[in-house]
C-alpha cells in the first residue's frame, strides 16, 4: 500500500543543488511534515498524497534565499529615486521613519514585502529593522521563512539594550515564537558608522555567548571606509576584528569597498557576504570585488536590500545582474557560470545563514522550501540548460508555485495565505499618509 504523504510535486526538471549538482527529469518530490521525504520515480506509485501539484514543464529548485533586506521599508518603494544618498535619507527616509515607524506600519509594510518575496520565489529572508515581533508576525502570516534581526544603532535605545539585554531579547523571542518553525531571530549591529565601539564589543560578546548569527552592513560606500580609517585608524574589516565581531559567524551586506587584504581576513573567518548589486548600482555605491572574494574563498550569496533602493524584491533579477556584470568587469564571459550563480542563491546562502544542513538544496530530510518556475510562456522556450535559464531567461514572471516548510504559499501566481487585493489597498492608504507627512 502506498504511504500517505502531505504533498507531491510531480514532473518537471529538478535542480537538486545536491553535492553532485544532479539535475533530475521526470521525478516527483514527496513532502511530509514540512520536509522532503523522497525524490522518486512517479511510476513506482509508492506514495499517495493528500495534495498534488503537476509540475510538468516547470523547473523546480530550492527556494531562493534573500540574505539581506529591510521588509518594513516596502511602502517607500520609489518614493524618492535618482537623488543623492544624503538627500534621500535626510529629506525623506529619516523624517518618515521618525513619524511613521510604529508597530502597525512596520507590521503591514513587512507583510506586503513578505508576500512580494514569496511571489518572487524567495522562501527565506534575513531581515534587519526595528520591532522584531511585528516583522515576525508578518512573515508568519505570509508564510515566509525569516531570520529577523533587530537593528542595533546608537540613538534609538537599541544600542543601550545591546549591553547585554539584547541577547536576552533574542532568546526571549526565540522562545515566544518557538512554535513557529518559520522564524528565527538574530543580532544586527547596523554598521560600523552607526554603532559605537563599545556597542560593537558588547554585541560581539552577546552573540558569542548565545551562539547568535550576526547580520551587519559593511563597506557599502567609499565614505564609510574613509570615516572608519579616520575614526579608528583601521580599515573596516580590521576594525571588526578588533571589536571581536569578525571571528563570529556573520553575514555582511554589500562588502563593496574591501581590499584584498581585508578579503583575506574575511576568508579566514566565518564571514559571508550578501551581494546587493541592484542597490549598489542604483545608489551609486559601487561594485564589489566579486572575483577577489571568490579567489580567496569567501562564501557569497545574494540579497535585494530594502525595496526603497532597488525598487523590487526580485532575487532572480539580482542573480542575472550580478552574473552578467562581473563577466564584463572580468572581461570573461565564462566568469561566474550559471550553475555557480544558482548555487550562491540557494546552498551558499543557506551556508551563510548557518542552515545548510536543513535548506539550500532539494534532498530527502531537508526542509521542503521549493520554488517552481513555469516554462509555459514562449519567452521560456526553447530550454537547453536549466541553470542558464534560471539565471538569464526566467524572472519573477515565471514564479508559479512556492512551497515553504511543506506548505503551498503560492499557487499559479496567487498568494495562498494573504489577500493580495487587501494588501494593495492598505499600501495605497499608507501612501496617502506618507505623502501627507512629507507635506
Amino acid at each position: 500500500m502506498p504511504a500517505q504523504v502531505d504533498l507531491i510535486l510531480r514532473g518537471g526538471t529538478i535542480l537538486t543543488l545536491d553535492r553532485d549538482l544532479r539535475v533530475l527529469e521526470d521525478r516527483a518530490i514527496a513532502i511530509d511534515g514540512g520536509r522532503i521525504l523522497d525524490i522518486f520515480d512517479p511510476r513506482a506509485k509508492q506514495y499517495a498524497a493528500r495534495q498534488e501539484i503537476d509540475t510538468a514543464n516547470c523547473i523546480l529548485m530550492p527556494g531562493l534565499i534573500n540574505a539581506h533586506s529591510h521588509l518594513p521599508m516596502t511602502y517607500f518603494r520609489g518614493l524618492a529615486d535618482d537623488l543623492p544618498l544624503e538627500t534621500w535619507l535626510r529629506d525623506y527616509i529619516w523624517p518618515l521613519e521618525a513619524k511613521l515607524m510604529k508597530h502597525e506600519f512596520i507590521g503591514q509594510a513587512a507583510l506586503h514585502g513578505a508576500a512580494e518575496m514569496i511571489k518572487n520565489g524567495i522562501t527565506q529572508v534575513q531581515d534587519m529593522y526595528f520591532d522584531m515581533p511585528a516583522i515576525a508576525a508578518a512573515c508568519s502570516q505570509a508564510g515566509l521563512r525569516a531570520i529577523i534581526g533587530e537593528a542595533v544603532l546608537e540613538g534609538n535605545g537599541s544600542a543601550e539594550q545591546a549591553r547585554p539585554a539584547l541577547g536576552e531579547k533574542v532568546l526571549e523571542l526565540r522562545q515566544s515564537f518557538a512554535a513557529d518553525p518559520l522564524l528565527d531571530f538574530n543580532l544586527a549591529p547596523h554598521s560600523i558608522y552607526a554603532c559605537s565601539e563599545k556597542t560593537l564589543v558588547q554585541v560581539a560578546k552577546v552573540a558569542a555567548e548565545h551562539g547568535i548569527l550576526l547580520h551587519m552592513h559593511l563597506a557599502e560606500t567609499r565614505g564609510e571606509v574613509r570615516d572608519c580609517l579616520k575614526e579608528h585608524g583601521l580599515k573596516p574589516v580590521h576594525y571588526l576584528q578588533k571589536v571581536g565581531i569578525l571571528e563570529l559567524p556573520a553575514v555582511y551586506a554589500h562588502g563593496v569597498w574591501t581590499d584584498p587584504d581585508e578579503i583575506g581576513l574575511m576568508a579566514a573567518n566565518p564571514a559571508s557576504v550578501a551581494i546587493c548589486s541592484d542597490s549598489n548600482l542604483k545608489l551609486a555605491s559601487g561594485i564589489l570585488p566579486l572575483a577577489e572574494y571568490q579567489r580567496q574563498g569567501v562564501n557569497l550569496c545574494f540579497a535585494t536590500d530594502g525595496v526603497a533602493s532597488n525598487n523590487n524584491l526580485d532575487l532572480l533579477a539580482e542573480i542575472d545582474l550580478t552574473a552578467k556584470l562581473h563577466k564584463a568587469l572580468n572581461s570573461d564571459p565564462a566568469f561566474l557560470p550559471a550553475a555557480r550563480a544558482v548555487q550562491m542563491a540557494t546552498l551558499d546562502a543557506a551556508k551563510a545563514l548557518g542552515v545548510a544542513d536543513r535548506r539550500g538544496s532539494l534532498e530527502p530530510g531537508k526542509d521542503a522550501d521549493i520554488c517552481v518556475l513555469s516554462l509555459a510562456g514562449l519567452e521560456c522556450q526553447p530550454v537547453y540548460n536549466p541553470y542558464s535559464h534560471v539565471v538569464y531567461t526566467l524572472g519573477a514572471k515565471q514564479v508559479r508555485d512556492v512551497v515553504i516548510a511543506g506548505e503551498i504559499v503560492l499557487r499559479q501566481g496567487r498568494l495562498a495565505k494573504v489577500d493580495e487585493a487587501e494588501l494593495v489597498e492598505t499600501a495605497k492608504s499608507w501612501k496617502q499618509r506618507i505623502l501627507k507627512e512629507l507635506g
Copy 2:
C-alpha cells in the same frame, strides 16, 4: 452625437512623452485608423468606441522601441552560455546558421521572437539578419512593427548584391509590402570587420541615393577596434567617415569602445547609438561610455540584441540595468534619471529610426503604438513616480496590453494574433533538430 472611433483606452496614468513630458491622470485615448485621434476627458463623452479597454490602475506609455535585434536567433536562446565569444560562434552559432538558416527556420524563429517582443511591451523593432521577406512576414503575422535590414557581409552573397542590387532589393521590398503599414526595410552593413571597404563604400552610396537608414554593429569589442586600427590605420568611427557611412542617418549597435574624439564625430553626424547593456555584459564585451555620449549630445536608445546573447527580449530590463549601471560608474545616483531613460526607450528611439514625427510619444496624430502596464500586483504598490516605476519597479510581468497601429495585439497578457501554445511546440521541435545538428 459622439463620434465613432475604433478603440478607446480609458483611465490610468498616461506618460505622454510629449514636449512637456506631461503625465495625465484620468484621461482616455481615442484611437482611429491606427492613429491616436485624441486624448480626452472621458466624462465629456464625445467619442463612442467599437472597442474599449479599461486601463484604470495602469500606466500607459508609448510602445517600447527595440533598436537592434536578430529575431531569427530566438531558437538559440541559452544554447551555449558562459562561453568565450569565439567558442560560442565557432562551435555553435556559425555551424547551426550554415545548416539551419533556411526560410522556414528564419520565419518561425522570427515569429517566436516577434511575439515575445510584444509580450514585453515592444511595439517596434529594428532587426538585422538574412532573408528579409521571411522576417517581414513573421512580424506582420504577430502584429509587430518592424524595420528589417538585410545583413550585408562578405562571403554570403549579400556583399556582392551591395553593388548596387541591394538598394533595388530594399525598394522592391518596400513596394511589395507597401500594403502593410507595420513594415519598412533598410540596409544593415554588418560591421567594419565583416564588410570590405569596397562593400561599405557601395552600401553608403546606395543608402544615400535612396535615402535608406543604415543599421550597423560598431565598436562592440576591444578586438574590433584593434583590428580596425591595424587594417585601416583608423579608429572605427574615423573609418566610417572615410567610407562615407558616418554622414548618413544610421543606428549603431553597441558603441562600447569609442573614445571621446570618435564620439564627438558621431555627435556632429546623424548617428544614433543603440545601447545593448545585457548583451555587452553577458558576452563580456564591455560597457559603453554613456556619460560621454550624453555630454556630447549623441542620440541614444536601447536594444536587446539577439536573444542568444541576452537571454530574453525584455527592453524594460535593459532600461533598468542601463540606468542603474551608469549611476554606479559615474558615482552619481542622480545620473540618467528615470524620465530621461524612458524618453530614450521611446522618443529618442523613434528619432534614431527616423520616425519621431509618427511615433515615440502619445499625442494626437501619432501612430497608436501603446504599452499598458498593470499596477494590480502588490509588487507594483505603492506608486509615487510613474517614470521611476517603469524603470526600476515594473517588468515584463506587468505588460498587460499592447496596441500597435491601433490594433490590440496583446490583451491581459495573451497574444491576440498568434497561438502561443503552437509557437511553444514549434520551438520545442526546432530544439530537437538543433541538438541533432550539434551531434
